[in-house]
């Protein structure tokens, strides 16, 4: 299988009031294309830091991250932005949609930055919203949508341009259990139907259960890395 992520000897040390905090303390980690990986662990275990290093939002103190064969350490801020635009889709805990744009325009936004033609953009954005069962909400702004609907729009935005990797940081943190289940079913469907590689960072067991591989972090190190044959659904 094709390797999408490779992390070699990752460490990340923050200074907190002059006290060094080792968020990552030597992580070696690989993800193959099409995997659905859950990074789990208690607060402060380093799962979000690892996710951010993979997505090029944070730089490791030492070690190297490769995404789709590209070493992130050598990339400028501008090149990292391009990498995030083309190869990585992000789903954030607090949705982070653009408040002045409608659901459709939010989904179109990434494609606008990529220079996709208007007609194609609209068609793909409508199709994506339809496939996530929020097609009727296309003209509503984020403030007019529920948390679950906003997260669906965020997912639509993240995957509409077919990135090689979808990163979701605590995607269910602001959702109730029913909406969380719907959301995870959706991510699972995307993973299976589009063979999209998905990595989530979560401490919610209900979310972990959907992943085919569960990586448990404690104190910035991988404690366990297991394939779960009994992934939900």
């Amino acid at each position: 299988m094709t390797e999408v992520i490779r992390c070699n000897g990752l460490t990340r040390t923050y200074q907190d009031d002059g006290v060094p905090v080792h968020a990552l303390a030597g992580v070696d980690f690989r993800v193959e294309a099409g995997e659905f990986v859950s990074l789990a662990g208690p607060s402060g275990s380093g799962k979000s830091t690892l996710l951010n290093c993979i997505g090029g939002l944070d730089r490791p103190s030492t070690g190297e991250v490769y995404v789709d064969g590209v070493s992130l350490g050598a990339l400028s801020q501008s090149a990292l932005a391009d990498l995030r635009l083309i190869k990585v889709g992000f789903v954030f805990q607090s949705y982070n949609l653009i408040p002045v744009l409608s659901a459709l325009e939010n989904v179109e936004f990434i494609m606008q930055l990529q220079g996709v033609a208007a007609a194609e953009r609209k068609e793909r954005a409508h199709a994506m919203l339809d496939s996530l069962a929020i097609g009727e909400m296309w003209d509503r702004r984020p403030g007019e949508l529920s948390g679950g609907q906003q997260q669906r729009v965020a997912i639509a935005r993240a995957i509409v341009s077919k990135p090689v990797l979808l990163l979701a940081d605590e995607p269910s943190a602001n959702l109730d259990s029913k909406t969380t289940a719907d959301l995870m079913e959706l991510l699972l469907r995307i993973n299976r139907e589009q063979s999209m590689t998905i990595i989530t960072a979560t401490h919610d067991p209900a979310v972990m259960a959907y992943a085919s591989r569960q990586v448990h972090l404690v104190d910035g190190m991988i404690e366990s890395d297991q394939c779960a044959d009994n992934a939900a659904s």
Binding site: A81, D82, F90, N96, L101
Partner: protein, 406 residues
């Protein structure tokens, strides 16, 4: 990097309406500042136009030819003759009017008083194109021709001499032979000028009449009025070629104090504009920093999903410039409206004595120059641009991850 300009414009426009109240305040500040600058500029420019008009029509003209030494010793001995049928040869379209005069110091006597004055022999028809007499109120009659042996007095002088229209006065001066001449003249009319100083100094009579009294065919000055003040240096140069033995001077050389004030008006416009725009720029930067820092999380998110830092800056700048452009456009319109409301002028007659020294008349009429409006528009946009780039640049200095945690 391809710039999705339409996307940025759309985002910017909607963001403006999202923070309606703050942006209306920002817009209002620009509106007030720009309209005030336009109005102030037009008043200063109006003063400058008036100053130039006053100096040029106070018998200076834009360019004047005098005999050498006349300025130090203005007597009929320092005179020159014009060739027969002379006409100034300037570039086409430059010359508005011209005349020759005899101007000598003299004394005027009435039954009541005696005053020292400037006796001015003129061609009345030319003078109506050249000097303040064209706009002066005349009681009685204007001079009929260059041969007219009557005089035209200023109202202030007539009052001092306790004389008036139809009365006789006596003029005394030195003739071309160096001997004193004395002759009686009847008062044809009394003029009222915009400034009282002129009324006390100049006594007009026909040029030929004064030449006869002085026993000369010569003139003491050739004065030219141009269509454009900017042509005066070139006109001076061309005149100098025809009058190599005389002194050719522009009005600013003849009236250096007025010239300094004229230049100061240009500087005053820049100073006033700079003060207003600097104050506005600080307000803009302050408001825009607040506006941008409130949205630092959102801007961080845009970068996190792949928007280039340069595009984020551009988006913020476009947003700011939209407000600035609208404010400047309406500010200029409002300023022009104010100026139009003052088109009949501002009456300054109660300060008449004080403003005379500034070459102002008692009616200040604002003057709008397209170049001034363009300068205001261009500099306002430049200030707006600089004031918006700084907060935007600051916003993208925050790393996306850190921004999204705020």
């Amino acid at each position: 990097m391809k710039i999705p300009l339409r996307t940025l414009l759309q985002l910017s426009w909607r963001n403006i309406w999202r923070h309606r109240r703050r942006n209306i305040m920002l817009f209002s500040a620009i509106l007030v500042a720009v309209s005030t600058v336009v109005l102030a500029n037009s008043l200063i420019r109006g003063w400058q136009v008036q100053m130039l008009d006053t100096v040029v029509t106070s018998l200076n003209g834009h360019v004047k030819v005098l005999a050498p030494g006349y300025l130090d010793d203005p007597s009929i001995e320092r005179a020159f003759q014009l060739p027969g049928g002379y006409k100034p040869a300037l570039a086409p379209g430059q010359l508005r009017a011209w005349t020759s005069r005899v101007v000598v110091p003299g004394v005027i006597l009435s039954e009541r008083d005696t005053r020292g004055v400037q006796l001015v022999g003129v061609d009345p028809a030319d003078e109506l194109q050249m000097s303040f007499l064209a706009d002066a109120q005349i009681e009685g009659e204007f001079l009929a021709s260059a041969d007219d042996r009557r005089v035209l007095l200023g109202a202030a002088l007539a009052e001092r001499l306790n004389t008036g229209v139809g009365r006789r006065i006596v003029l005394m001066t030195q003739g071309s032979d160096g001997r004193n001449r004395e002759s009686g003249f009847r008062v044809a009319g009394v003029y009222r000028a915009a400034t009282g100083g002129l009324e006390k100094v100049f006594v007009f009579t026909g040029r030929a009449a004064l030449q006869q009294m002085l026993d000369t065919q010569a003139i003491t000055e050739l004065s030219l009025r141009l269509h454009s003040n900017g042509d005066r240096a070139q006109a001076r140069q061309q005149l100098q070629q025809g009058f190599s033995g005389e002194e050719v001077s522009t009005w600013d050389e003849l009236q250096p104090q007025a010239a300094s004030m004229f230049e100061f008006a240009d500087v005053a416009i820049v100073i006033w504009f700079s003060i207003m725009m600097t104050a506005l720029a600080f307000g803009l930067i302050n408001t825009l920093i607040t506006a941008v820092m409130e949205r630092v999380r959102e801007l961080g998110m845009l970068r996190a999903i792949g928007m280039q830092p340069g595009l984020v800056i551009l988006q913020v700048v476009i947003e700011s410039l939209m407000i600035v452009i609208l404010g400047v456009a309406l500010g200029i319109s409002l300023g022009v409206f104010f100026v139009q409301q003052l088109a009949d002028g501002i009456d300054l007659s109660q300060w008449a004595a004080g403003i005379e020294g500034y070459y102002m008349s008692t009616l200040l009429i604002p003057s709008l120059l397209l170049s001034d409006l363009l300068l205001v528009a261009a500099l306002s946009l430049l200030f707006g641009l600089l004031a918006s780039v700084w907060p935007a640049w600051r916003a993208v200095q925050v790393q996306p991850l850190e921004a999204m945690r705020r």
